[in-house]
C-alpha cells in the first residue's frame, strides 16, 4: 500500500468536498462530468483503503482519527457514495450551481461523519451536513422554503450542539474522545443519544423530516432523504448497539407514521412519513444488537437508501413534469410517463418487501433477529408496520399518481438523465433482491444468512399472513362504514376504507389535541412575540436609542450594585 493512503488528505469525504469547491468554480458544461466522476473516484478511493484507522490529526489538543475504515463504516460510506453518484446523474439537467455544490458538499460531510473515528471529527462533519443540506431547501428560492429551511437548520444545529455538549462531557468523564460504544449510563451518553435521536427522527422529534423534505427542490428532496437520517442510524449503530430502549423507540417509529402517511395528500410528504417508518426497522435492529440484527440494520439502510431514493426520484420526476404531487390532483400518468411509472412500481415493491426485491432480503434479517431474541412485541409491531408500508408506499403512491382516474395531464416522459438514474437504481433494487450475496459480503459481521431458505420463506408467509390478519382485525372491529363491507378486496379497499377510517379516528383525536395545543401555543407565542418586539424590536425598550440620562442612570445603578455587594 502506498504511503499517501494513510494520510488525512486521502479521504473520500475530502474528495467530495474538494469536488464541490471545483464545481463552484468550473463552467456549467463541465458540471455533469464532475457530478459523476467525483463520487466514483471517492468510491474507488474508499475501497483502496484497507481496514484500519488513518488520518490522525492533532486539533486543539485532541488527537483526531479522521478516517476509520471498518465493516460498519465502510458499508455506509459505500452506499452514500453510490447514492451520490445516482443523485448526481438524476440532477444532471439542473442548471443551478448552488444545488450541485450543496449536494456534493453534503454527501462529503455525510461520508466524513461516517468515517469519523472520534467524536470531535463526527461533530465537525455533523454540523457540515446540516449547513450543506439546508441550501438544498433554500435553493427552492421561495419565502416558504426560506422559513422552512431556517426551521430545519435550527433543529439540525440543536442536534449538533447536543452532540458537542455530550462530547465535552464524555471527554471530561472518560478522558477519551474515541467514538465507540457509548451507552446511556452516563450524562454525556444521554446527550449524544438525544443528538442522534433528533437526526434519526425519533417519535416526537421527527417533525422536521416531514416539514422540510417536501419543500426542497426536485433533486434536493431525493438527496436529503439519503444522508442525514441514515447518518444518524449509523451513529446509533456505532454508539448504542444493543440498547434496549431503542427496540421500543424503533417499534413506535415503525407504527405511528403510517396513519399520517395514509391521510396525507402530498405524495412527497407521504414518502417522508414512510421514511420515518423504515428508519424504525433499523432502530429496532440496532436495539436488538446481535450481529444478525446489526447486519440487518446495515443491509436495510443500504437497500432503503436505494428504494426510497427511487420513490423520491419518481415523484420528483412527476413534480418536474406536472408541477404537483398532490394525490388528489394526479392520476393516469402511466400513459405519459410509462418508464417513470415502472420504476416507481419497482421502488414500491422493494419497500413493501416483495420477494425478489431488495426490501425482502434485508428486512427479513431484522425480523428474524427480533424473533430469535424473543422480542415479540417489536416483532408484531414491525409486522403491522409492514402491512402499513404496503398500503401507503406500496400502493398509494404509484396508484394515485400513475393510475386511478385520469386527471388529464399529457406531459412528456421524464428527462433522459432522470430515467437513467431511476433505471440504475431500480436495477440495483432488483439485483439485490435476486442476488443478495455481494451485499451480504460487505456487511459488518460475518453471518451466514440466506433469505431464500424454507424458514425465511415461511417467515415471509407469516408476515403476509399477519398482515392479512391485521386487516381482518381492523375490518371486524367495525372501523369501516357498513357499506364498505361488501366491497371486494381490491387494492383500493385498503387505502379507501380500512386504514383511512382508523387513521381518521386517530387523526381526529390527534388534531383535536393538536388544535388545543396550537391554540395555546399561538396565544403564548403572541404574548411572547409582543413582549419580544416591545423589548428588543428596533423601537423596543432594550434596543432603541436611550437618552444619555437613562444610560447614565443604568451605569450609576450598576456602580451602586457593585458597591453594595462589596460592602
Amino acid at each position: 500500500m502506498s504511503d499517501w493512503l494513510g494520510h488525512a488528505l486521502a479521504s473520500p469525504a475530502l474528495v467530495l468536498m474538494l469536488g464541490a469547491l471545483l464545481i463552484a468554480a468550473l463552467p456549467r458544461w463541465l458540471h455533469g462530468v464532475w457530478l459523476l466522476t467525483i463520487p466514483a473516484a471517492a468510491l474507488a478511493l474508499l475501497w483502496q483503503l484497507p481496514m484500519g484507522e488513518y488520518g490522525q490529526l492533532s486539533l486543539f489538543g485532541f488527537d483526531l482519527t479522521t478516517l476509520r475504515v471498518d465493516g460498519l463504516s465502510r458499508i455506509w460510506a459505500t452506499i452514500f457514495l453510490i447514492a451520490a453518484f445516482l443523485t448526481g446523474l438524476y440532477a444532471l439537467h439542473v442548471n443551478d450551481r448552488l444545488q450541485h455544490v450543496a449536494a456534493l458538499a453534503y454527501a462529503g460531510a455525510a461520508v466524513g461523519a461516517v468515517l469519523a473515528g472520534d467524536l470531535v471529527t463526527l461533530f465537525i462533519f455533523w454540523e457540515a451536513t446540516a449547513i450543506a443540506s439546508v441550501f438544498l431547501i433554500w435553493a427552492q428560492r421561495t419565502i416558504k422554503a426560506h422559513i422552512v429551511g431556517l426551521r430545519y437548520l435550527v433543529i439540525q444545529v440543536i442536534s449538533g450542539l447536543l452532540l458537542m455538549m455530550g462530547a465535552i462531557i464524555h471527554y471530561h468523564a472518560t478522558g477519551s474522545i474515541a467514538f465507540n460504544h457509548l451507552g446511556l449510563a452516563t450524562p454525556g451518553g444521554l446527550l449524544i443519544f438525544a443528538a442522534f435521536g433528533i437526526k434519526a427522527a425519533f417519535p416526537l422529534l421527527h417533525n422536521w423530516v416531514q416539514d422540510a423534505y417536501p419543500e426542497a427542490t426536485v433533486s434536493g428532496t431525493v438527496i436529503l432523504s439519503i444522508y442525514t437520517t441514515k447518518l444518524a442510524i449509523y451513529s446509533l449503530a456505532r454508539g448504542y448497539a444493543g440498547t434496549e430502549a431503542l427496540i421500543t423507540i424503533g417499534a413506535i417509529m415503525t407504527i405511528f407514521p403510517i396513519f399520517f402517511a395514509v391521510i396525507e395528500n402530498d405524495l412527497r410528504r407521504v414518502l417522508a412519513y414512510s421514511l420515518n417508518n423504515q428508519l424504525g426497522f433499523m432502530v429496532v435492529g440496532i436495539g436488538i444488537g446481535t450481529p444478525l440484527a446489526l447486519n440487518g440494520a446495515a443491509a436495510h439502510a443500504f437497500a432503503h437508501i436505494l428504494y426510497k431514493g427511487l420513490l423520491f426520484m419518481s415523484m420528483g420526476a412527476v413534480l418536474y413534469r406536472v408541477g404537483t404531487v398532490k394525490a388528489s390532483e394526479l392520476g393516469g400518468l402511466y400513459k405519459s410517463m410509462p418508464w417513470t411509472a415502472a420504476f416507481c412500481i419497482v421502488g414500491s415493491m422493494s419497500i413493501s418487501a416483495f420477494p425478489l426485491f431488495s426490501g425482502f432480503v434485508t428486512k427479513s434479517m431484522i425480523l428474524t433477529a427480533a424473533a430469535e431474541n424473543h422480542h415479540w412485541i417489536a416483532w408484531m409491531a414491525m409486522l403491522v408496520a409492514s402491512a402499513g408500508v404496503l398500503d401507503h408506499s406500496g400502493i398509494k403512491v404509484p396508484f394515485f399518481s400513475f393510475f386511478h382516474h385520469d386527471a388529464g395531464f399529457r406531459v412528456r416522459e421524464a428527462p433522459l438523465n432522470m430515467l437513467l438514474a431511476m433505471g440504475a437504481t431500480a436495477a440495483l433494487c432488483i439485483g439485490i433482491g435476486v442476488y443478495p450475496a455481494p451485499l451480504y459480503a460487505i456487511l459488518p459481521f460475518d453471518v451466514d444468512y440466506s433469505p431464500y431458505t424454507t424458514t425465511h420463506v415461511v417467515n415471509q408467509l407469516q408476515l403476509l399472513m399477519f398482515a392479512a390478519l391485521a386487516f381482518v382485525v381492523l375490518f371486524r372491529s367495525g372501523l369501516y362504514p357498513p357499506e364498505v363491507r361488501g366491497v371486494n378486496l381490491d387494492t383500493d379497499w385498503l387505502y379507501r376504507a380500512a386504514l383511512p377510517a382508523a387513521g381518521r379516528a386517530i387523526h381526529r383525536g390527534v388534531s383535536a389535541l393538536r388544535a388545543g395545543l396550537v391554540r395555546g401555543l399561538a396565544q403564548l407565542a403572541g404574548v411572547a412575540q409582543h413582549w419580544l418586539t416591545e423589548g428588543f424590536g428596533t423601537n423596543g425598550v432594550a434596543a432603541r436609542t436611550w437618552t444619555s440620562g437613562v444610560m447614565l442612570l443604568w451605569v450609576t445603578a450598576l456602580l451602586a450594585a457593585y458597591l453594595l455587594i462589596y460592602y
Partner: protein, 498 residues
Amino acid sequence: MITAFFNQMPVLVVVVPLLAAPLCVLAHRAFAAWLLYVLASWSAFGMAFLLFVQAKIAGQVSYAVGDWAPPFGIELVIDTYSALVLLLVTGVAALTGIYARKSIASEITIEREYLVFALMLLCLAGLIGITVTGDAFNLFVFLEISSLSSYALIAMGPKRRALLSSFQYLIMGTVGGTFLLIGIGLIFMMTGTLNMADLAERLPGVYDTRTVQAGLAFVVVGLSLKAALMPAHIWLPNAYTYAPSTVSAFIAATATKVAVYALFRFVFTIFGVGYAFGSLPLGTLLLTLAAISMIAGSLASIFQTDVKRLLAWSSVAQMGYIVAGFALASTAGVSAGLVHLLNHGIIKGALFMAVGAMIWRVRASSINDLAGLGRAMPLTSAAFVVGGLSLIGVPATAGFISKWALLSALFEAGRYGVMAVLLVASLLSIIYVGRVIEALYFRPLPDDVSHHQHGEAPLGMQVATWALIAINIAIGVHATPELEATGRAAALLVGGGT
C-alpha cells in the same frame, strides 16, 4: 543598531503611530495621509510581531520610559497576554489601511480625508499604549487618547445621526474614563504607587479597606462601560452603525477588545485573582451580566433592519461570551475568553469590512438594500457567509474554536446555566446571520436600481476582507498555536495573581 532598535521597540510601537498622526495633518493630502497611515500601521504590526516573539522567548519584555527606573518612572511591560492583544490591534489596523482608501473616499469629502487617517493613527496609538503599558495611570491616559479620537471618528460618519451617536458615546465614554480614574485614584491613595507590578505587591496589605473595594468597583464599572458590557452597552449600536464603514470595522474589531484587556489586566494582575474572585463575588456578577448580554444582544440583533446595527448588537452578545470566559477565573476560562477576544476581533472585523464593501456599492445599509447582492458581489457575499458561519461557531472556523473552548471551560467550572445560555445564544445567531444571507442570496436584485454599473468592491477592500477571513479559517483548521499562546497568557494571569 539592530540591538538598539530591538531595545527601543516597546516604545517605538506606540511612538510611530503617535507621531505619524500630526504628520498626516501636516501633509493635508488624502493620499499622503493614507500612505502615512499604511506605513505606520504596518510597521507597528511588524514590531508587534517581533514583540510577541520576544515575549514568548523571554516571558516578559520590560522597558523603562526615559530611563526612569520603575516603579518611579513609567514602565512598559509586554507579556504574552498583552502581546496577543497587541497583535490583534495592529494586525486589524494594518489591514484596515489596505481597506480604507476607497471606502473612506466614498463616504467622506476629500478635504477631510486626511483627518480620518490622522485620527485613526491617534486611536491606534492609544489602543497600543493601553496594551503595552505597565502603569495604571498611563493606561488611563492612553484610554482617553483612543476614546477622544474615536469620538471624532464616529462623528465623521456620513449621516447626521452620527453626531448624536458620537455625542452619546462621548458622554458615556467620559463617564467610564472618569470612573476608571477615580478607581485608580483610590488605589493610589492606599498604596502610593501607580506601577502595576508594584501595585500588585502592595495591595494585599490593604485588601480589607473600603477604599480598595470601592476602587475595584469603580475600575470594573468604568471599564465595563468601555467594553460595552450590559447594561452599559447602549452607546455601542449607534456608534458602530453611524460611523464610516472603515471606522466601524476598525473600532469594532479592536476598541472593546482592548477595554476587556484593560479590565482583566486590572482585575488579575493588579487586584489579584484571589481577591477579586475569592473574597469578592466579581465572578458571579460578571457571569450574570455576560449571560444577560448574550441573550439580550442576540435577541435585539434578530430584530434589526440595518445590517451594521445587526452586527453591532451581535457584538454586545459576543462581548458576553468573552467576559464569561474571563469571569471563570480559571486557566481554561481565561484562555477561552482570550481566544474568543482574538477570534471575535478577527470575525467582526471581517464582517464589518464585507458589509462596508456592500455599502460602498449600494450606498445604503438596510438589510433590504442588500437583496440579491450574492449575484452582483459574489466574493464579498461569500466572505460575509464565511464570517457569519464563524460568528455562529461552525466547525473549521475560528468561531468554533472559541465556542468549544468556552463550553469546555464552563463545563469544567460547573456553570451549566451559562452553558445553556451560550447554546441558546448561538442558536439565535443562526437566525440573525441567516436573515442577511437570505437577503444576499435568495432575493432578486431590484430592477430599478442605478448601481448596476458597479461590479465587485475595489481590490483593496477585497484583499483586506479576505485576509481576515483567511486568518479566521486558518485558526479554525489549525488552532494549536493560538491555543498554546492563550494558554500561556492565561497561566500567567491566573497563576501570577494568587
